[in-house]
């Protein structure tokens, strides 16, 4: 166990498409899921992550390494640095990857990453008409015309003068 020897431990994480990654334990345990697996005795072996593919896992590991490299918890300056890192990390990410990231953050139980990715996704849909949101997220309109009319009627003022399929 790392605590006894005092040397940093490295873990091997395996994605569902069989890619393997080496990560410092101190970074990996940002994920509560991984931390629980280590405590259950997976350390030294390979930690299988069945719900994450290699590409997404690589991104998550970049995140883990970046955040754990910033020392200190609670100090304002360090929180600022972490926020800057998160913002940069997400701004480099394309929209499609965000869906994989939010699912991975959920599975790996990483609340700060989850929070940041959710906020980023919400930002995409802010101040946009309904039709635009559907197209962007690839969501099919499964309302019947009557149902859709009822929805618009309920919050009539927001939809007044706007067709839900309008682009900006």
């Amino acid at each position: 166990m790392a605590a006894e020897t005092g040397t940093p431990t490295t873990l091997t994480l395996k994605s569902n498409d069989d890619e393997r990654f080496s990560v410092a334990e101190s970074a990996a345990i940002l994920s509560v899921t991984i931390r629980n697996m280590v405590e259950d005795g997976c350390a030294g072996g390979v930690i299988p992550l069945d719900n994450v593919d290699g590409k997404t896992l690589a991104s998550v590991i970049t995140y883990m390494n970046g955040i754990s490299a910033i020392p200190g918890v609670g100090a304002a300056a360090d929180e600022e640095k972490k926020k800057s890192f998160r913002d940069k990390f997400l701004s480099d990410m394309d929209f499609e990857t965000l869906a994989d990231m939010v699912l991975a953050a959920n599975y790996l139980n990483m609340s700060c990453l989850m929070d940041a990715v959710s906020a980023k996704i919400a930002q995409v849909m802010e101040n946009k008409p309904v039709g635009w949101v559907r197209r962007k997220f690839g969501i099919e309109n499964d309302y019947t015309p009557e149902e859709e009319a009822a929805v618009k009627e309920e919050h009539k003022w927001t939809f007044e003068g706007v067709e839900t399929d309008d682009d900006i």
């Binding site: 699912l103 930002q123 946009k128 559907r134 969501i139 309109n141």
Partner: protein
Amino acid sequence: MADWSQLPYDLIHEVASHLVAIEDFHAFSAVCCDWRSVYSTKEWHQRPQVPLLMIFVPEKNGFRNFISLYRNKVYKLEIPAVRGRKTWGSCSGWILTLGLDLTIQLLNPLTRVCLSLPPQSSLQLRPNDARTPYCYRVIKRVFVFMKQQPPPRNDEGDSFVVIIYGPLYQLAVYRPGYTSWTIVKETATLNQFIGVAFRKDRIFALCKAGSLSVFDIDSLAAIDFDDPTPPENVKFALRKGKFNHLMLVESRGDILIVCKQQDSNRCGFPVGPVHFFVYTLDFINKQWVEVRDLGNRAIFVDKSGCVVVCGPERFNCRSNSVYFVADDMKRWLVGEVWIDLCVYNLADRVSEALGFSSEIPNDVLLPLWIVPTLE
């Protein structure tokens, strides 16, 4: 390729809980059946909203235009419940309406929810004859407060209404369940009130002499309060009788006075630039202190009072600013009444028109700020 439609409900909720503006929540709920399910069944924390400006449409009775600064657009809505009724804003999501029969209602113009309040006759004023024109001018100002902030969703039980009414500018309160208006008995000398705010279970009321009275919300008993001297600008407005230039408001535990300043010409019409001064009550030293920087707040002023919103940038509005309605004096002289929505920057003390110039029917039906709510 991401498949957003496969996202579990909990994650959809997690994402949508980062939305702030009500307009975005409504759009979210209309995307598809699954998202609507999440909207209907999950709990949402409603953050303070930037209000919409409600303007009377001259050519269409019963219609109102609503300016959304967030979306930079104007919604036109039919509001049948205001036809034939006199209206007062309350700097909240509600307007008070008075019918020819002197019945009083509280209407949310956006959601159309309409509540009946005790009639004006329960204010026990004489004369009660419905035929006198005076009876439509009894109510002076209206305020709606929530006992609990933020308000729980779907709960009107914690709202209450305070009105300033009558020739003596007294206070009366309505809370859900009351069958008549409850008059607040002022034990001190006759104070005529011009503004009301609510903070931590206490009603604060500013009177024409510039002093503050404080009442407990449950007992309506007056509470001893060491009165601070009003600031010079406030005293000046009081001396000139410009009571509608002064607004008392609560924000984040502070009690503020917002003081509008504008010169008048010999005929009493407002001329020249508009300025705003904001003062906060220092409870410890019992004095008003000028606030030169509102920080991350914006104030929205209309003739009935004002709304203070924290974090206005999320709504495409500016911090440290006062949004107000300016009258266009030049056009009044030719019989037209035009208003413009303007924003005043407290830092450089300059106003800017926002390009929503509108004609209104007359100078009585001035625009009102309406705060949207989730339901």
